[in-house]
Symmetry: C2
Subunit: 368 residues, 2 copies
Amino acid sequence: MKIICQKEVLLNAVSIASKAVSYKKNMEILECILLIAKSNELTLIANDTEMGIETIVNEGIEIDEAGMIAVNARMLNDVIRKMPEGDIEIYSDEATYVSFKSGDIVFDKIPAHGGETFTLLPNVNYNYNFKIYALTLKDMIRQTIFSVAGEEANRMMTGELFEIKNDHLRIVSLDGHRVALRQVPLREHNDNRKVIIPARTLGEISKIIGDDPEEEIWISISDNHIMFKYGQTRIVSLLIDGDYYEIDALMTTDYSTRVVVNKQSLLECIDRSTLLVRDTDRKPVVFEIMDHVMKLQLKSEFGSMNEPLPIEKEGKDLMIAFNPQFFIDALRVIPDEEVILYMTNPKYPCFIRDNSDSYIYLILPVNF
Amino acid sequence: MKIICQKEVLLNAVSIASKAVSYKKNMEILECILLIAKSNELTLIANDTEMGIETIVNEGIEIDEAGMIAVNARMLNDVIRKMPEGDIEIYSDEATYVSFKSGDIVFDKIPAHGGETFTLLPNVNYNYNFKIYALTLKDMIRQTIFSVAGEEANRMMTGELFEIKNDHLRIVSLDGHRVALRQVPLREHNDNRKVIIPARTLGEISKIIGDDPEEEIWISISDNHIMFKYGQTRIVSLLIDGDYYEIDALMTTDYSTRVVVNKQSLLECIDRSTLLVRDTDRKPVVFEIMDHVMKLQLKSEFGSMNEPLPIEKEGKDLMIAFNPQFFIDALRVIPDEEVILYMTNPKYPCFIRDNSDSYIYLILPVNF
């Protein structure tokens, strides 16, 4: 194999493929990126067995000799990054070493592997396709991924529900204490369908998505896999098996107290209250809701905080308490200046939702 | 005690005093900053027993009731930082709690300590004084502190030599494998004197120094202490006992090979070579010095690097090898575009020095 490629082009492709490299499993081949040079393009593949990424470079590249080689992803990234601007030559005579050259600078005898032992992306028959603006997807992931459960949880809770229903895409995550839901209309008709996607896959995809507001991402689904196609990059991931929780049953619109409050003030106030909270002793923040004012209080061995916030209130007065971090997480990703809270009683969840239901955040209260 | 102070003024003072707070010794009082309010000023003091800092606020402050209280430095910093812009009121009726108020926001019952248990800065009779531009001192510290030895070393090696001699200030550090030396002329006459200052003290001082090129720092010395006075801040530190190593004896000007090379090219080349080095297996970078060219090579199990650099050479050809990190550390802080290396043979140190001896970096070679 012998190729010549511009540094920046190569670095970008390596950075994309690296998102599917796994260092956790302590298997050398999973820490590698496979380079395949043929005709006029270079394909880079990484695959951690749950998620695989393939990205193609066909501009800013010259293929002098076809071939393939698998190189440790960190080494590949570091060598390219530390080379000066300009063209980099990558060549390999046999499958055990690879060399890099830029001007007079030579990196030689870098250990490598043949491509035979490398698992390519699975060949899947997809039976469902839709598309969405990539930046919209990136936003929706950012606005929901924080309430996915940790890895010790039920497997379904470590993923996010993607549900296409009535030509809307709905993304849902939950961890047993809270639910995050985002919903957007799709521009074309699509049949109803739902799948559960590992949060890790979604996290990596949102890192790959750039900032072009016109660029779309194509999503294809099979029984066991999902594929995202974004520019020259394909991401293929296993789906999580199972019937997701009945979200609609949770999403009542009943309430007895409705509060409109400035989002930034509420966020800063709750954030301040966490100064008095240590991990070992999760004290709740108490909302005391009255006409025109909501008093927030937090008491711990480290002190007490008291702050009144001006609000618009409808319905009954209420005292209710929450894990402050759950409110912070939701408020941080809500784009609106004002938020509306719907509550019923101190035992019943609080809903933060906008009038068009483009987002709903459900947060369970705690005892106080 | 009761004071009202602008947030930014308070935050700046707390940030300065925090540099002498120690969390290592697991003693609550050492994690505190003492606030002393009297007449028209607030004094903040922290003291980790080796180094103490005292800083005075007398603008943007109103003292309503004199008094003193010691507050955990992290809590103090966090509460002030998370308050909105504007005035912050700090008050305390007794010595066990302190309260903060900004507008309607109240932080109450924050645990605190009386001032009695707090160790103030020592009263010392200083018998030697000089001054220097603060930014010059900051530069000199940055350009030498990296070659101080770790804490496991001989106590003297964990400090830096400050030597006033012939109206020059010379700062020296060494760790057994290398020496860093910076020297500047002083503007006024001073008697000769030398002391060893803990590197930690110097590191914290360089963080406190701002970017005003006109501001000076006053340095006072006694038998056991050194005091730095910078604006409204005094830093007092214990000195390290002992006779420092005989630096002049090391600093020969003999050489048999003299190389002039572009600093940035040499730095980038050596930095690249470290891609092939892992902590467990410190391979040296080999310099092969010939007429007009110096070839740099590094070989390890992770590959080999080869790069020729154009040089001007005087004297004999030479092959010599170094720990790449020692060269990187020195080259990073040298401000010149070109550096001059003086070498004698593969066993004898390399000197990087400018023509006016404003800096000298001595690096011992290694076997290859």
